[in-house]
Symmetry: C2
């Protein structure tokens, strides 16, 4: 083949999530048409992100520094911890620009079917943080699916033993949504958790 390096690039792009063969081809041909500096920039951005980014030893969020941006920020409320599945969720929640507490990234959710037990995710680390005594409330913000619920209940049980308040993010209809497209379970939860206005 006279285009081995192009085929290799297509194959590697095709391994990325959500990138099918057609998209990989389109991206690869685009790369060939990009200025060389742009390609070099993208190539080294990949290496740099991979080599520099690591997990914050306190909360498990992504960081380039010793501690992550949130754990090293003294204005953040250390008595409040929001528990999430992975580091991506931290950036999703930070987009609110409202939450002033800290986070704890579990690095997964309990899933007996996949062999993921309490020792496989960062629950012990959360318990030690809580045991330090500063934490007043832990918000359980795992996903509202089977594994997320199971993980939230398991952690809630552990926190009860430690005498710390555990809360779960609210279920209800999404803002800007249409009742027609909201599933029955969500509607039921939205009705159940109705508030006086």
């Amino acid at each position: 083949m006279s285009t081995r390096s192009l085929d290799n690039l297509i194959a590697r792009l095709n391994r990325l999530p959500g990138v099918g063969v057609k998209t990989a081809q389109r991206l690869a041909f685009h790369v060939l048409s990009m200025p060389a500096e742009e390609v070099e920039g993208l190539s080294s951005a990949l290496l740099e992100a991979k080599s520099r980014i690591h997990y914050c030893p306190v909360c498990g969020n992504y960081t380039e520094e010793e501690l992550c941006e949130i754990c090293s920020d003294n204005r953040r409320d250390r008595s409040l911890i929001c528990v999430v599945r992975d580091a991506r969720d931290v950036s999703h929640l930070e987009r609110m620009r409202e939450y002033r507490g800290c986070y704890h990234v579990l690095g997964g959710t309990l899933s007996p079917m996949d062999g993921v037990g309490p020792d496989d995710i960062r629950i012990a680390e959360l318990v030690s943080r809580v045991k330090e005594g500063q934490v007043k409330e832990v918000i359980l913000a795992t996903n509202p699916d089977v594994e997320g619920e199971a993980t939230a209940s398991y952690i809630a049980g552990k926190l009860k033993e430690l005498g710390v308040k555990a809360t779960r993010i609210a279920y209800g209809i999404p803002i800007g949504g249409n009742l027609e497209y909201v599933d029955e379970m969500t509607l039921f939860k939205a009705m159940e958790n109705r508030r006086e206005v």
Copy 2:
């Protein structure tokens, strides 16, 4: 920011065609979770494809060698040239595994609105190839849009002057398509070009 290299990766991925901010984030987070060798592989695949791939001096197709795979293949029929807009079209047409002639990549289509005239695309190169005397037929396979049609007619005119047969790929309903979703112009062309069975 404690995630500057991650933000840089997201920004660079976001510049790729069809990659919005959300997709760029998803890809970047995936890169962080990939084994280091995989990231290094992707990073160097980008550099290698960009540095090794160039245009075939005969037909304008992509190649790593002096001539492209098709131009250096003696079993290909050199009396037949298929004219396409860009090198991607060559790989699309090659997927048929039926065409045994050669190609000529224009590197664009005539578009007076965008300031692309006959001297900006590889028409002169096509004319020289035809003038060498071996070519019997030129198939015009530019896209069936305004620019593609204009380019095909322009080249057909040039070929007529040289006394070489010029053909245009057929218009009609796509195989596996549904008449309901075929536009009127295509239906008209399909009726007009009907064949006795």
